[in-house]
């Protein structure tokens, strides 16, 4: 029935241009509706044919119950014919309707039987004209199927019957009103005439059924699909999972939880419209990477889930994850710029990791965190180890609350060295001394603190502590190194951010020019006018502003002019490649920054070659392990003492080591 109607039925033109999924869904709706209509009509014909059989026998008995030949009587052949019509074609058609409902051969069998009932009735009545109306009634009834081929079958049976009888036995079909043996042509014409209009009506009606199916599909699309990307949503995912389980509950399936790396920052730097376009591109890449049996859904801003079809070999979901990563690795063309994105993917397996979608998603998302923790742009499969790490993550999240009050945080300071080797200042780096786990890296807790909002309190503590330390260095050592403090996006979005910084600075008594606030470009461009206002206010107070991690991701040189800053901090990624390759780019940035009156600080300097190169390019200052690791406590004091003693720290990389001794 499916292929039959796909090829022949009238579909709305809007549907032709629809997606394959949409067409399949509309076809499903149409076939359901048509099957229902056919089944109901089949049942109606079972009743009708049964009633007609009884009616035929009664008619034959009333008109001619017995036939007399002189003194001998016998049952009239018409009565026998009426009785035999049952086993000959009425009962088989009824059986077809019961055994094979909604089958197209059933419809054709019923059509043949119905028209034969008409012909027998005409014959029994001696071709009286009234009984010919039965033919038209039968055709109209058959039109309920809305299957034009059934009407063709019916008309072929009737026209064929009239042709045979009209030519050779005209009185059996026209009675005494036979004028010509060609009268069957007139009868056939009227049948064809009616069938023509019935076919038109049927096709129109089928067209309307398609319209309804298509409307339902669109409603379904709206209810089950993500408006932005056209992928499925949570509801579709849930229903597809339930349907897949119902089909084969033992089949192995994978759930891939895909989280785009740093998408939020990218979206914020691009603007919302471009971000949406980027998401659509990502969705298209996912569709390309996924298989025909896989279900894709967007379940959050930049979070996607793929529910795979039944998996045979081990590692098939991992292969899909690799395909997704490969698809994401190609640049995305957005107007005049290219974007690079990556994704972290967590994988869980049904039924190994759970038998409900919610649990499987949860485990896959935990694996995603593991993938992110391993450096992003990779996949990780859920395992007990992943679960254990997730437990730790939850513990850290819990322990973060009140950590400031419990004085568990401390700051380490990484020296920033001038081009001439003199100490320029320090970058304050946060550390968490966990009472149980020991020293916890910022990467393990900062993002958690940002999500919980605890970063505001932590950031305030960092700023106050850095200002206090810097002021102490001034008082105790007579040095005036500046201190740079990193500000997260959550802190910057706080409406009181500016006032808070100024208040802390004033309370500390630190000279404002010694404080540098480091902000990443993506934090600033989210709301450029507001960012400009805040930076101007801070600079008005004498605070230095540094654009941190410049050169990563979405940096645009135009922001250098748009944002009131004092320092550009070249990202360490510039130095992670061959210095000779990166040198022209570094030089260009330095030259442009200098022309705009900005100083340049290079991060991640780890070798003498890099230092010499940066120096030759007139980079204003540098920091990195070549000069010193972040320092704290006594080590820092000794480092400061050495610096106060006039040692040129950059020329003596052993100084940090000496300080640590």
């Amino acid at each position: 029935m499916r292929s039959f109607f796909w090829k022949t039925a009238v579909r709305p033109s809007s549907m032709v241009a629809a997606s394959t999924h949409g067409q399949a869904q509309a076809t499903r709706y149409f076939e359901e509706a048509f099957e229902k209509l056919s089944s109901v009509t089949d049942r109606m014909f079972v009743l009708l044919l049964g009633a007609e059989w009884v009616g035929l026998v009664i008619t034959a008995c009333v008109i001619s119950p017995r036939v007399w030949s002189g003194a001998e009587s016998s049952i009239h052949p018409h009565v026998l014919a009426a009785l035999l019509s049952g086993p000959a074609f009425i009962v088989p058609a009824m059986l077809f309707a019961v055994l094979y409902p909604a089958n197209r051969w059933t419809r054709h069998t019923i059509a043949v039987a119905q028209m034969l009932v008409s012909t027998v009735l005409i014959d029994v009545s001696g071709g009286r004209i009234e009984t010919h109306f039965h033919i038209f009634g039968s055709l109209a009834f058959l039109a309920i199927y809305r299957d034009w081929r059934v009407l063709i079958t019916a008309s072929v049976v009737t026209v064929g019957d009239h042709f045979v009888r009209g030519i050779w036995w005209p009185e059996s079909v026209y009675g005494l009103l036979t004028v010509s043996p060609w009268r069957w042509v007139e009868h056939a014409w009227w049948v064809v005439f009616e069938v023509f209009f019935l076919i038109l009506a049927s096709r129109r009606s089928i067209g309307e059924m398609w319209e309804v199916a298509w409307s339902k599909t669109q409603l379904h699309e709206d209810a089950y699909h993500d408006f932005l990307t056209g992928l499925g949503n949570r509801r579709l995912l849930r229903e597809e999972f339930a349907a897949a389980r119902k089909r084969d509950s033992s089949a192995r399936r994978g759930v891939l939880y895909i989280d785009l790396d740093r998408f939020r920052q990218a979206s914020e730097s691009l603007g919302l419209a471009a971000g949406d376009r980027l998401l659509r591109m990502v969705a298209a890449r996912l569709v390309e990477a996924a298989g025909a049996d896989d279900t894709l859904a967007r379940i959050g801003g930049d979070e996607f889930v793929i529910l795979t079809g039944a998996l045979e070999p081990e590692g098939e979901a991992e292969e899909l994850a690799s395909r997704v990563l490969a698809a994401m690795s190609k640049p995305f063309d957005l107007d005049d710029q290219q974007m690079l994105l990556s994704a972290s993917i967590g994988i869980s397996y049904y039924p190994k990791d759970g038998d409900d979608l919610s649990g499987l998603k949860d485990r896959a998302s935990r694996a995603t965190y593991a993938a992110k923790a391993q450096g992003r742009n990779q996949w990780a499969v859920f395992s007990p180890e992943v679960a254990r790490r997730e437990v730790i993550r939850q513990d850290i999240r819990r322990d973060l609350q009140g950590a400031v009050k419990r004085n568990e945080f401390l700051l380490e300071y990484q020296p920033v060295i001038r081009n001439n080797g003199q100490l320029y200042g320090f970058e304050a780096l946060l550390r968490w001394k966990h009472p149980v786990r020991g020293m916890v890296e910022p990467a393990d807790f900062v993002s958690l603190a940002e999500r919980s909002g605890g970063i505001i309190e932590i950031g305030e503590w960092v700023l106050a502590e850095a200002c206090r330390s810097c002021r102490d260095w001034q008082r105790e050592g007579g040095l005036e190194p500046g201190v740079a403090v990193n500000v997260s996006s959550v802190q910057f979005e706080d409406p009181d951010f500016c006032e808070r910084v100024i208040r802390i600075l004033r309370n500390s008594g630190l000279q404002p020019g010694l404080l540098t606030v480091e902000l990443t470009e993506t934090v600033l461009v989210r709301d450029l006018p507001r960012a400009r206002r805040i930076l101007q206010r801070l600079r008005g107070e004498g605070v230095q502003v540094a654009l941190d991690d410049f050169g990563t991701g979405y940096s645009s040189l135009s922001y250098l002019t748009a944002l009131p800053a004092d320092i550009v901090k070249l990202d360490r990624s510039f130095l992670s490649r061959d210095f000779l390759d990166a040198a022209p780019l570094i030089e260009s940035i330095i030259l442009m920054a200098h022309k705009l009156g900005l100083r340049v600080v290079a991060e991640g300097v780890e070798s003498a070659e890099q230092r010499a190169g940066l120096r030759s390019l007139r980079c204003d200052a540098m920091q990195g392990f070549y000069f010193s690791a972040p320092l704290g406590g006594e080590v820092l004091s000794r480092y400061l003492a050495a610096a106060a003693g006039g040692q040129r720290v950059a020329e003596d990389s052993d100084m940090a080591g000496a300080a640590s001794r």
């Binding site: 002189g70 003194a71 052949p77 074609f89 027998v120 001696g126 059996s172 009675g175 009103l177």
Partner: protein, 190 residues
């Protein structure tokens, strides 16, 4: 499913063939003599009145329709004779149909023993109607119903009316729908 379809198709074909074969053997109008036969024992109406003869099988259901049609037509200026077929030693007596004929005014009801008169007039089917003019010439022969037991307009009735009115012979004989009169003549029923 295919076997069931084939079986149904074969059964339907046999049934239709039998029906058509049956239909084809009927509709014989008989062969009435062109003039009033001399050997008949029936008395003519006499004068200027034409004679209307109707041959009837008393147990033929279709003949009821013939009587219905004729009841609207029986002219006052013609002598109507119903000849009721009765086989030898059958013991048939007046049934409801015969009683109805008897009640039809001036109509004459005659029992036709063993169908002798039917043979003389060439009538082989119940409902066979013939009209002879006052001068004994055949004006009409055949049936006056459209089909089996069918009441309503038909060419036979029209021609009979025309012949009664004008006295001009009808151009053709009309098929008769009824049971066979006398013996197995090969006609079954129409």
């Amino acid at each position: 499913m295919l076997a069931l379809l084939l079986l149904a198709a074969v059964a339907s074909s046999v049934l239709m063939f039998r029906l058509l074969a049956f239909s084809e053997t009927n509709a014989q109008a008989g062969s009435a003599p062109e003039r009033w036969p001399a050997e008949t024992s029936l008395q003519r109406a006499g004068g200027s009145h034409p004679d209307l003869l109707v041959f009837i099988h008393p147990y033929c259901e279709c003949t009821e329709a013939t009587l219905d049609e004729l009841s609207t037509l029986i002219p006052s200026n013609s002598a109507v004779t119903f000849l009721i077929y009765r086989p030898h030693d059958s013991g048939w007596k007046a049934n409801s149909l015969v009683q109805r004929l008897s009640a039809m005014g001036s109509a004459r009801v005659v029992w036709d023993e063993d169908g002798r008169e039917a043979k003389r007039f060439g009538a082989r089917t119940s409902g066979y109607t013939m009209l002879y003019g006052a001068s004994g010439e055949l004006l009409f022969r055949g049936g006056v119903t459209g089909s089996r037991g069918h009441r309503g307009d038909n060419y036979g009735l029209d021609d009979l009316q025309a012949a009664l009115r004008s006295g001009v012979p009808a151009r053709k004989a009309h098929a008769v729908f009824g049971c066979a009169l006398g013996g197995n003549t090969g006609q079954k029923k129409l």
